[in-house]
């Protein structure tokens, strides 16, 4: 396009595009700056991996919006950024955690743990503890009045104060010392302000200052006590060991805990990489050998039966209501959808109440009519049945909705042809309706199967895995599925938090489910072929 041929409109267009590219650049830079600030904050807080993700996000956004050739990525940039942040990062972080002992006792970093152990002090046998009052000068130098158990008082300077005497005698009139209060502490000292308890407490320097004789320094230990404290452990950065100053015992670093040879441990420990220990522990856990087989078998039965029952009931209802002769089906169909609209947790708890062996309406009715009182929560097969009943109730409306839609899409001429060929109703259902239906709802069935395979809410809220399996050595119940069992193993019953162990288990579960899904997708391919052949 030559300069001479520029028309007014073209000029206007160029200006607009020039303007909008300036606006784009400005906005992108603004977003980058904001993200950069977050990255900086993250680094200062020590979240290095998260900061790396943010740097990647900045790179993606800048690349997509500022490099003209990359404009086709613009539509994906935000999605990619969110995907990195909310999907990829948590997955990588979980994988990383699975190889650490992050959890109770190992929550903090090595630097934090070393600082805490170094801060531990002890009172030597000859050491004394005192009552104290602090005085502060405008230049932030301090004096400390002390009173020992025998009632002797003294005033000490800071260790690094450039003074000849580190101790002052408590005599009113000398060294600017004013009147004494009933405890014997000066009410005033010239050039110094007496700190009351709270102003002493808000002074962040005070606990870190060493007072008195450099040979045996005095430190404030609490609002009521100062003492001649010595550090209990000395850290050797070369060997990565701690030495106890009282006993001489050496503690070396074993998987994030400083441990002596006799097994004595220093607290706190820190979050350390422990290799495949979590996986080994999971695979060799005594609980895994016994109940896991029972649990896995039930997990498959549960997922399969849930799918089968919800699908069958849903399909049955949609076939019945698909009959054009049926009256009032709209109202009935709406009523049947109600279980789907109530939050499942509430439904589960209502069922739990209804099936209560002592107070529940189900047993009251069964008892008065048949004289039966099944113990739904304590007999294994009854508990499993109850779970399936509740899950069917929760799940059939979904399949009713899905199948009633899918049934409409089956061409009616096939049925007509079948009728001409003399097929019975059953034959039509088995040979036409079901195969064609499976083609369209097959993927949904897989989704439903996987959902039920991991249906933690139902198992946990309804019965928490119970009744317990008598032969199990860990907490395992007859209705436990893998996910609820693993939850109990890693977190529940006051066992504390074991993030590393739980991450390892979730990785194992992830692999299990991935393999299962793959196998099932193979299976659906087969269905599609069936569909094509029809």
């Amino acid at each position: 396009m030559g300069e001479t041929t520029i028309t007014k409109t073209q000029f206007a267009k160029q200006t607009i595009s020039g303007l909008s590219s300036i606006i784009t650049t400005a906005i992108v830079l603004l977003v980058d700056a904001l993200l950069g600030y977050f990255t900086y904050r993250l680094i200062t807080l020590g979240y290095i991996p998260l900061a790396v993700v943010f740097i990647l996000i900045i790179a993606i956004i800048s690349f997509a919006f500022l490099v003209p050739k990359a404009h086709m990525f613009r539509w994906m940039a935000v999605g990619l950024a969110a995907w990195l942040l909310f999907s990829i990062f948590p997955i990588l972080y979980t994988i990383y955690n699975a190889f650490t002992n992050y959890g109770d006792g190992h929550l903090i970093t090595q630097t934090q743990a070393i600082a805490q152990i170094e801060a531990q002090t002890y009172l030597p046998e000859t050491g004394k503890a005192y009552q104290w009052v602090a005085y502060r000068s405008p230049e932030n130098t301090y004096l400390l009045w002390l009173k020992d158990a025998e009632g002797n008082t003294s005033i000490v300077r800071m260790v690094d104060a450039q003074a000849e005497d580190y101790t002052l005698e408590v005599v009113p009139g000398q060294n600017g010392i004013g009147e004494l209060d009933e405890e014997g502490a000066p009410k005033t000292i010239e050039d110094y302000t007496r700190l009351n308890r709270i102003s002493a407490a808000t002074d962040k320097n005070l606990t870190n200052i060493k007072f008195g004789d450099p040979e045996k320094t005095i430190q404030i230990r609490s609002p009521s006590e100062a003492a001649e404290l010595l550090p209990l452990f000395v850290y050797d950065p070369e060997a990565n060991t701690f030495t106890n100053q009282q006993t001489g015992v050496v503690y070396s670093d074993i998987e994030g805990t400083y441990t002596a040879k006799n097994g004595e441990k220093l607290i706190p420990g820190y979050s350390a990489v422990v290799g495949t220990k979590n996986f080994v522990q999971f695979i060799s856990a005594p609980g895994l050998r016994g109940p896991l087989a029972t649990i896995v078998v039930w997990n498959f039965i549960f997922a399969f039966m849930s799918l089968f029952l919800t699908f069958s009931v849903g399909l049955l209802i949609s076939i019945i209501y698909g009959d054009p002769k049926f009256k009032g089906k709209k109202l009935l169909r709406s009523l049947l959808l109600i279980p789907y609209t109530i939050p499942s947790l509430i439904t589960i708890l209502i069922w739990r109440g209804m099936l209560n062996p002592d107070l529940g309406v189900v047993n009251r009715v069964l008892e008065s009519v048949f004289g039966l009182s099944p113990d739904w929560f304590n007999v294994p097969w009854l508990a499993r049945s109850a779970i399936l009943i509740v899950n069917t109730w929760l799940g059939y409306p979904y399949w009713m909705l899905v199948t009633s839609g899918a049934l409409q899409s089956i061409p009616s001429d096939i049925y007509e042809a079948a009728e001409v060929d003399g097929a019975t109703g059953w034959q039509r259902f088995w040979n036409i309706t079901l195969p064609l239906l499976l083609v369209s709802v097959g993927p949904l069935m897989i989704a439903s199967f996987i959902f039920n395979f991991n249906n933690f809410n139902l198992i946990y809220a309804f019965i928490n895995g119970g009744p317990p399996i008598p032969t199990a050595t860990t907490q395992a119940g007859y209705t436990d599925i893998i996910i609820s069992y693993v939850y109990n193993l890693a977190f529940a019953s006051g066992r504390g938090v074991q993030y590393g162990y739980a991450s390892a288990i979730s990785l194992v579960l992830f692999v299990l489910i991935a393999v299962m899904s793959l196998a099932q997708f193979r299976f659906t391919n087969m269905w599609e072929e069936v569909g094509e052949n029809v």
Partner: protein, 511 residues
Amino acid sequence: MKKSVMLVAIFLIASMVLGACATATEAPATEAPVVTEAPTEAPTEVPTEASAGTLRIWADEQRAPVLTELGAQFKAEYNVDVVVENISGIRDQFTVAAPAGEGPDIIVIAHDQMPALVASGLAAEIDLGAKQADFLESSIKAFTYAGKLYGMPYAQENLGFFYNTELVPTPPTTWQEVYDISKQLIADGKVEYGIVLGGTSYDAYPWMTSQGGYIFGVDANGDYNPADIGVGGEGMIRFGEMALQWVKDGVLSNNTDNTTAKSMFKDGNVAFFMNGPWEIKNLREAGTPFAITKFPDGGTPFLGVQGFVVNAFSENILLAQSFLTEFVATEDAMLKFYEADPRGPAYKPALEKVDDADLIAIAAAGEGALPMPAIPEMGAVWSDWGNALTFIFNEEKTPEQAYTDAANNIRIAIASKGMVNVPGSFQSLVGCASDWMPYCAQTALVKGDDGKYTGTFLIPAGDYECKVALDGGWAVSYGDGDANYKFTVAADGNVTFIFDPETTTLEIIVP
């Protein structure tokens, strides 16, 4: 036109993404904390002066308003802002927030959550000074870990023995009386059952202790000893047999669901049950005629203690301690906590002012009780201990079998701290589930007076290998140099293992 729309859209989405990140970084725990009442107005005489500091407290919804009120006073007097945040699941959020430097200065928790915090380096030592004497000794003990105090208690609670005063005019003092009264009431058609349990572990514990049952033994210092597990002991089994018999006799309901139990007592379907002070309000509202007495045959419940713990990563540890000892440890403040949520105060001057007869009765029922074990090993106890009673009631196991199995499972789960074991190729021959099990209780060595660990096992003739493993795991283990210890047993006999922790060597004496 289209372009500008796109730009606006991108900007909006970007800011949403940013917004999401912002909350994620500020509260790395799970949810952004809900600030109930930040003391926005500062009723000081010197409003222009900047505040001298900020104290952040995480409390539950019943403690938060009281603390907010105290915070306003604190601000007025010392010009320090107190921000009280109402958080649910304090412990879990704290374990994530505190190491990141985002935690509050003070949290409110139950005493049994404290040891894990100490072990993780998240709780700071507390010095209550002279005020320590004003607290109930048992509550101070509950917040003491390895000889050091890590919390300031405010409330102490335990179960009491509830009875329906309309059905039972005079409270029973022995289980035999409970049984006889129940039998009579059932025969008269007044109740369905005599007594019902609200659970299988904590809620049944006073009955267990009355029969001599216990969870962990207590050493000379009064500390729990995780090596002495009482779950499989005689007292516990005696309780199991008794409970089973009572169920068979129709006196005890085989229900162990808490909600069901409450409802049965509330409706007068049972005459007795064991529950805590939290149930008093419900029963009063329902109009059930009830009173509370001590447990029959001297049974004692577990004590639960609630208190304040200071964050070890706080920059205001002294300030936090001062706030607690000078503003919270006062009769007024403690009574306010009590009014907000009637649990027995742990602060003696406030406790003396409590005049609620039922609460006093509950406190009496808790006399001589021990705090719920605040040792990490307790986590391994609950499920097995509780399941045992379920197996007994379902008649899947005999009481002896049920409690013995439970005790064995607990031993395995604890994989005791301090356990010295000799895992090796002989273990399955002496009663272990398999060979090379570092946590098998059967082959654990016992510490002698000389500081050495010894154990003697009957091993059949053969060649064997073993190692020494500490704490029931392989993290710390010793071999003969880099190799395993090898030994040969010529004829079946007792093999003695002696481990010297000083030299970390194992001596094996074969017959």
